[in-house]
Amino acid sequence: MDFVNFLIQLLNSIQYGLLLFMLAAGLTLIFGIMGVVNLAHGSFYMLGAYLAWSLAAMTQSFTLAIILGTLLSVLFGLLLEWLLFRHFYKRDHLDQVLLTFGLIYVFEEMRSILWGDDVHGVTIPDLLSASIPLTETLSYPVYRLFMSGVCLLLALGLYLLISKTRLGMKIRAGAFNHEMTEALGVNIKLIHALVFAMGVGLATIAGMVAAPVSSVYPNMGSPVLIMCFVVVVIGGIGSVKGALIASLLVGLVDTFGKVFLPEVSGMLVYVLMAIVLLYKPEGLFKN
């Protein structure tokens, strides 16, 4: 494999990995801080993609679509948290699994009713539709770099928020001990709502940003959700750092696996997970 091909695959790995991170970070935070598992997390990714498609069509502006879409989905996330999720923080994982599985069905059908069952494409905005030439025959799409850029920026923002701000400190404290944090005057309910909304927001943005590349189709959240779970298992629940490293690892294994071992490429990521489990049943960075 020559250097240019290697570079292309490496960039693809990073892009896929960072996209997974957007979803995994939300999932691991929501679980780490509120102790709730959300099987419908992939549905937010799908919601993002469909929002991108319909809003872009309505406003004729991809940028506007992303801004509006993020706003709408964060509001939706807050509503969902207030209405349903906050009553399930203290319940059995089984109950949470069932609730969120029911929600997957509901969301799929709502999507079917609102947007139909057809596959759609989202056009890449002109500004980002160029390709960077690497050799005479090969070039790399700018849009994919844009995707990585957005995810990287959000990842950085998340890191700064969690570790450098007072809000982040309150979030981290809440993960340790709800009662104590509350006693110290922190509005834990607000923190939970914010974390949940953040998780939803990240997943939706991922869907929006990925839409031009992956297309918009029914049930598109399922395969992504599974990868997300694998990432969280490998990285360790509650660890955002673990989610990042695991996402990149999964991105690399999956992308290069498809190149070198196409027959078994689908299984490689699970083999990776199995190996991690043998030595670290709680993930690489269990906090």
Binding site: L94, V97, G102, L103, V106, V233, G266, M267, Y270
Partner: protein, 332 residues
């Protein structure tokens, strides 16, 4: 981990009577039912075996698996691979072979999954089941997304499984046998240990029980019994596809035992029948004002599940039990 739902381990007398009546009714059904309903009830009984296998893992041992369908599907596929294109395979070795295939897969995956706890276990079982799903879905050699056909039902020397009534009774017999076996197992030293693990695994270890090997044995046995159900499914329908091992199938079987009530195996049977019936009801909903209710059955199913979790966490038998408990306390 999950012991918030206290199971009805000891069935009250009233329930015993109800169960026996139900079994007798099932035995009489082929003499009154049409072919269509015979097939439907056979399917329900197959799901009942599938549900009971999960109840052992989840209701008794407390391990919530989101990937139990993998062992259901693999046995069906094993039958598809074993059955030649032009003739049937002998039942006496095909059945144990297919069940063994599921058991082996469960042993391997269980060995990796059982070392995890809580939410990790849920995610890991789901992930491995998806791995199995994609292994079949992506590979034409294994049938790919189209699946495989089983042209002949297995051949038993003493009876003809191609006869729908005979197949029905065969399935009924197996369902009753599995039920009796699991009830016996529940009160064996193994079963008591599994219940202890569900309630307080930490203390079980401190008392000297090898909880890892017990959980692994439960996982493997549950997988084997799921395989029995999968074998019957493949034999009855003559067709297997990756959806049998998919996430939706795994979630459906969880819903069956939640709906019926976990931990006593009777609930699993009740839940399987109820869930399948409910699915039919939702899918057959009519069109009202141009809106096809039946087409969007997933919506009603989803809302039903959400309502179930919020209102009736102990399922149908749990409601039944609460009803009886309140009646008894009023008589005191």
């Amino acid at each position: 981990m999950s012991h918030a739902h206290s199971p009805l381990e000891s069935l009250p007398r009233s329930l015993h009577i109800l169960l026996v009546t139900a079994f007798l009714a099932l035995a009489a059904f082929p003499f009154v039912g049409t072919d269509y309903y015979l097939q439907m009830v056979t399917r329900m009984m197959i799901f009942a075996i599938f549900a009971m296998s999960l109840d052992l893992l989840q209701g008794v041992t407390g391990l919530v698996s989101l990937g139990h369908a993998a062992y259901f599907g693999v046995a069906g596929y094993a039958l598809a691979f074993l059955t030649p294109a032009g003739e049937p395979i002998a039942l006496w070795w095909a059945l144990p072979a297919c069940v063994a295939a599921s058991a082996l897969l469960a042993l391997i995956i269980g060995f990796l999954a059982v070392r995890t706890h809580g939410i990790y276990f849920i995610m890991v079982t789901m992930a491995f089941a998806q791995m199995v799903f994609y292994a079949f879905f992506d590979n034409k050699v294994l049938g790919g997304s189209d699946g495989l056909y089983i042209n002949f039902k297995p051949e038993a020397m003493l009876f003809d499984l191609e006869n729908k009534s005979v197949f029905y009774f065969f399935t009924l017999a197996l369902m009753v046998l599995v039920y009796l076996f699991l009830r016996r197992l529940l009160w064996s030293p193994f079963g008591r240990a599994l219940s202890g693990i569900r309630v307080n695994e930490h203390r079980m270890r401190a008392l000297g029980f090898g909880t890892f090997s017990h959980k692994l044995a439960a996982f493997t046995l549950a997988g084997a019994l799921a395989g029995l159900a999968g074998f019957l499914w493949g034999a009855q329908s003559g067709y297997v596809n990756p959806e049998l091992m998919g996430f939706h199938m795994s979630a459906h079987v969880i819903m069956m035992i939640i709906l019926g009530g976990m931990g006593n195996f009777a609930g699993a049977i009740v839940g399987a029948f109820s869930f399948e019936y409910l699915l039919h009801v939702f899918k057959d909903l009519p069109e009202i004002a141009g809106f096809n209710l039946g087409k969007h059955w997933q919506l009603w199913m989803g809302l039903f599940i959400v309502a179930l979790v919020i209102l009736a966490p102990r399922g149908i038998l749990g409601l039944f039990d609460s009803l009886f408990k309140s009646k008894e306390s009023r008589h005191d």
